[in-house]
């Protein structure tokens, strides 16, 4: 067993720990692992180039930027925030848990590209969350805003990841089935997808409770803040 390529992993860990720019760190790690595995430089270059261009779909979010940018210039965030402020019954927890549910169900149907960080979180969910939080605690600090946006992004991730596996014709389920088929075990995709359901439910409950607790924390701070304002 050649353990030397593991040094590539060490490059990653050290690079991230020392907060170097992630791009050269990742490329260095690839070069280190490849060279220590005995790949020749031209082959390594070709491998790097080929795998980079084969994953071009990961930059698709760039195409949302012109439309989103134009709308933000025209006041999209401001409008989303004002609208949230007017909706009396819409609380922060209801907004985020509702989004979590929609995102998870869409992912279960295989519709992952429909929502996402560039498509829905930045233009809609994040500003609405900020407005909903301002209804609770009007004096939000910059740290609060950062945390709120991060919670919105995390909610999108959790909904997407744990819904995705409950869909039959999707990558993960097919990968599991394919692995077993190679080793002589025949499974139906439906059976695999079904066993992802318990975790999907648990993930929904856990994230919802955490959102609700976050809202409670804001409410407590709001009480304290009002006390200080009054006293």
């Amino acid at each position: 067993m050649n353990y030397w390529p593991l040094l590539g992993v060490a490059v990653i860990v050290i690079g991230f720990a020392l907060r170097f720019n992630a791009v050269p760190v990742v490329v260095c790690a690839a070069l280190v692992s490849g060279l220590l595995a005995g790949l020749h430089v031209p082959d390594l270059l070709a491998l790097l180039g080929k795998s980079f261009v084969s994953s071009r779909m990961l930059l698709m979010f760039v195409l949302t930027l012109p439309a989103i940018g134009l709308l933000e210039r025209a006041g999209l965030r401001e409008h989303a925030q004002q609208w949230m402020a007017r909706l009396r019954s819409m609380t922060l927890a209801r907004l985020l848990i509702g989004y979590l549910l929609v995102r998870e169900v869409l992912a279960m149907l295989g519709l992952m590209g429909v929502a996402g960080h560039a498509q829905t979180v930045r233009p809609l969910l994040a500003p609405m969350s900020e407005a909903a939080a301002e209804k609770i605690l009007p004096a939000l600090s910059d740290d609060d805003r950062d945390e709120l946006r991060a919670v919105a992004a995390a909610t999108d991730n959790v909904g997407r990841f744990f819904g995705e596996d409950v869909f039959i014709a999707l990558g993960a389920v097919l990968l599991i089935q394919g692995f077993y088929a190679q080793h002589g075990i025949e499974l139906t995709p439906l059976a695999i997808a079904l066993w992802a359901l318990p975790t999907a439910i648990v993930a929904f409950i856990i994230q919802s409770v955490r959102i609700w607790l976050y809202q409670r924390r804001l409410q407590r701070r709001a009480l304290q803040w009002r006390g200080e304002q009054g006293g």
Partner: protein, 322 residues
């Protein structure tokens, strides 16, 4: 027929536009960075076709360009997105336009949804409108174009203003945009270099004999750890399965393969929530939302990931040996 390649050409055109704008403003490194990336996007099909035909030269050139991008990246200082219009102007515009502003933003998910659902049945004069591979992503690209036109119409702004605002956002995201692609390439290199096999061998070496529970725990934690390293549960799954899951858990201890497979993969997904290596879920959103810490999203989902992992592991332990 609309193919995913057209979307890549569109991205390439946008990247070249961003490069040109940066060049005109004297931002040399930035311009070179987006230019190289734009060329990689424009030439991507050619690279893959030549590689398939047995000519590795274009792929080697692409590899050299990736290294050049890595050298340029540290010179791109990430700066916050500078607003072009004042907050008062935006507020006035928001009051004037109202809910109309939502329409183009909602068109992006809506058109994508429609294409994903019925795209396979759409045809013009007997020719399918959408190519089957990557139909949802092709739909997303189309949705973005439609949304840009709609946004220009609603805001009564010229189209090029959208390009210029998009460029501003992309420059604010900067090199972080590149990470998902690089990490995918790194995963490929790791696989080819036998990093996975080495990790499976290490996991086997620390495994205690004769305990099904300990074995399951090493398998589940291995899925998390390996996903954290690779940034992708799909890369971790075959490694952990071939190293521990199949020979020990299934064949020796009689674990249920369906449950082990499904829940083992989900343990890996918990790892995805924890790692900067899963850049498109954790680092890109942090840049996109202009958080001050690149790890803000990971911090926000850390405890969710831990709790979901613990719950999944307990369920797996209770169910898998029945």
């Amino acid at each position: 027929m609309l193919r995913i390649e057209y979307a890549y050409w569109l991205i390439a055109a946008f990247l070249l536009y961003v490069a040109w704008r940066n060049l005109r403003e004297g931002q040399g490194s930035r311009a070179a960075f987006w230019l190289l990336l734009g060329l990689l996007f424009a030439g991507g099909d050619g690279v893959l076709a030549q590689q398939k035909a047995g000519n590795p030269l274009p792929a080697q050139i692409a590899g050299a360009m990736v290294i050049a991008l890595a050298l340029l990246a540290p010179r791109l200082r990430r700066h916050a997105h500078v607003d072009t219009v004042s907050a008062e102007q935006r507020l006035a515009s928001a009051l004037r336009l109202g809910h109309k502003l939502f329409m183009p933003a909602l068109l992006i998910p809506l058109v994508t949804l429609i294409v994903a659902l019925v795209g396979a049945h759409l045809s013009v004069a007997g020719h399918a409108l959408f190519a089957t591979p990557q139909m949802t992503l092709t739909g997303l690209a189309l949705a973005c174009v439609i949304a840009l036109f709609a946004a220009a119409y609603v805001a009564r702004a010229p189209l090029h203003q959208g390009l210029s605002e998009g460029r501003r956002l992309l420059d604010a995201i900067g090199w972080a945009a590149l990470l998902p692609l690089l990490l995918a390439a790194l995963g490929e290199v790791f696989t080819q270099s036998g990093v996975g096999a080495a990790i499976a061998a290490l996991a086997n070496a620390i495994l205690p004999e004769g305990s099904a529970f300990a074995c399951l725990l090493v398998f589940a934690l291995g899925m998390v750890l390996f996903t954290v390293i690779m940034g992708n549960a799909f890369a971790a799954f075959p490694v952990m399965m071939a190293g521990i899951g199949l020979p020990l858990l299934i064949q020796q201890y009689g674990a249920h393969p369906t449950i082990l497979g499904a829940m083992g993969m989900l343990c890996g997904y918990c790892g995805t929530l924890l790692t900067p290596m899963a850049a498109d879920y954790n680092l890109v959103p942090a840049a996109l939302l202009e958080l001050r810490s690149p790890y803000g999203v990971i911090r926000a989902q850390f405890w969710s990931a831990v709790m979901i992992f613990v719950a999944t592991f307990i369920m797996m332990w209770l169910l898998v040996f029945r």
